[in-house]
Amino acid sequence: MELDEQKTIYTQIKELIETDILRGVLLEEERVPSTNDLARRYTINPATAAKGLGLLVDEGILYKKRGIGMFVARGAAETIRKKRQKEFLEVRIRELKQEAARLGISRQEIIAMLQEDEEHE
């Protein structure tokens, strides 16, 4: 139900890093930009950047090497992919179903639409 057009900055930072990991911009065991790097790059408060990075550490996507910085954990890309697949189901599919309900499109019609679309590719 919630459609956040404007996510909090720390969430956006988190997703930015995640996307970079998925895209191979950041590889496993590589150091991610520091809070100060991010603050400078995006003109945000370092504490906000730190919050975003902190969440990624909590989720096991990054790990901290004291005194050196934050690094991409082993298997991070896979973790992110699985997480986003789950989100895809929970958020986007649900939105699809809600909008379909609003428009009076049945589940069968949706499936038919998808199959038709696939045939045309």
């Binding site: 139900m1 919630e2 459609l3 956040d4 057009e5 404007q6 996510k7 909090t8 900055i9 720390y10 100060n36 603050a39 400078r40 995006y42 003109t43 945000i44 408060n45 370092p46 504490a47 906000t48 919050k51 809600q98 609003r102």
Partner: protein, 289 residues
């Protein structure tokens, strides 16, 4: 960690109650945003906190020691206010280089290297009198003084007044750079809210002489929702929640609500839900009479 604290701070001018029993605690190592409507009391608050004007009541302490007329405390606080050059005041006639020189003399930690760098970056005409340069350049002078002061607690009052968008962006970057390398506390009052929001770790809202709230920016902003749709649906979805703003046009209704921690909108209603940004939150909180 240092704390600049005021308790029961009150300021009455002849017939105006500018501040009424304000309690505030500022910690070192943070960037605070100070927002409020014109006349809310922002400048008065900054002026009192930095010991530049006497309070009618209440006390201001830095790490427990009184700030008023106490040089060791005053050395740690810098208030760079908007230069008021009207009425032919002394400041207006001063040459910019003399103004900066005064700063160099009075602030024990003045950074001469940064001064040279910023004068070059902003192309500040040192030989000109303050009143003879435009508002934007005056802002750059106050910004330079504030950043070079090296004070642990630095207040800036409307620092970007008169600056074009490129200069403003330069300012935010300089501010963050200085913050990153020094960990100084900055308290910045501004009317250009949304632009600066990402820079503030915490936001302090002043409304009619008192502090409405002081909260981390992210938490504050993410607790607000704008709910719109059919009026009956909107009412049902927002039942029992803290409503700050409500607009109705025919059967369409738009409501701004604040969610307490753990609270949620009632599910299962056909409504559009949007997040707000800091500017919109501020207008929702202080916009109506």
């Amino acid at each position: 960690m240092s704390k600049l604290v005021c308790k029961g701070l009150t300021k009455h001018y002849k017939d105006v109650e500018a501040l009424e029993r304000v309690d505030l605690e500022l910690e070192s190592g943070k960037i605070y945003g100070l927002i409020g409507r014109n006349g809310a009391g922002k400048t008065t608050l900054l002026s009192l906190l930095s010991g530049q004007a006497p309070a009618t009541a209440g006390e201001i302490t830095l790490d427990g020691a009184k700030v008023w007329e106490s040089q060791p405390q005053l050395d740690r606080i810098c208030f760079s206010r908007e230069l008021n050059v009207s009425a032919g005041s002394g400041v207006g006639a001063m040459k910019i280089k003399d103004y900066l020189k005064a700063g160099r003399i009075y602030f024990p930690k003045w950074d001469r290297e940064m001064e040279a760098r910023l004068v070059g970056l902003f192309q500040i005409p040192l030989k000109k009198a303050i009143a003879k340069v435009n508002k934007g350049m005056q802002s750059m002078v106050t910004i330079t003084a504030a950043l070079c002061s090296g004070c642990e607690f630095t207040f800036l009052d409307e620092p970007v007044a008169g600056l074009d968008v490129v200069a403003r962006e330069q300012f935010y970057k300089l501010l963050l750079d200085e913050f990153a390398s020094s960990g100084r506390t900055f308290l910045i009052s501004t009317h250009i809210i949304e632009e600066a929001a990402s820079v503030f770790e915490e936001v302090i809202i002043v409304d009619r002489g008192s502090i409405l709230l002081k909260e981390p920016t992210d938490e504050l902003v993410s607790s607000f929702r704008q709910v719109s749709g059919l009026d009956a649906e909107v009412d049902a979805a927002t039942a029992g929640l803290e409503i700050h703003h409500s607009q109705q046009l025919g059967r369409s209704k738009e409501v701004t609500v604040r969610l307490a921690p753990g609270q949620q909108l009632e599910a299962g209603h056909d409504v559009d839900v949007k997040s707000l940004n800091l500017q919109k939150v501020f207008v929702a909180l202080c916009g109506e009479e």
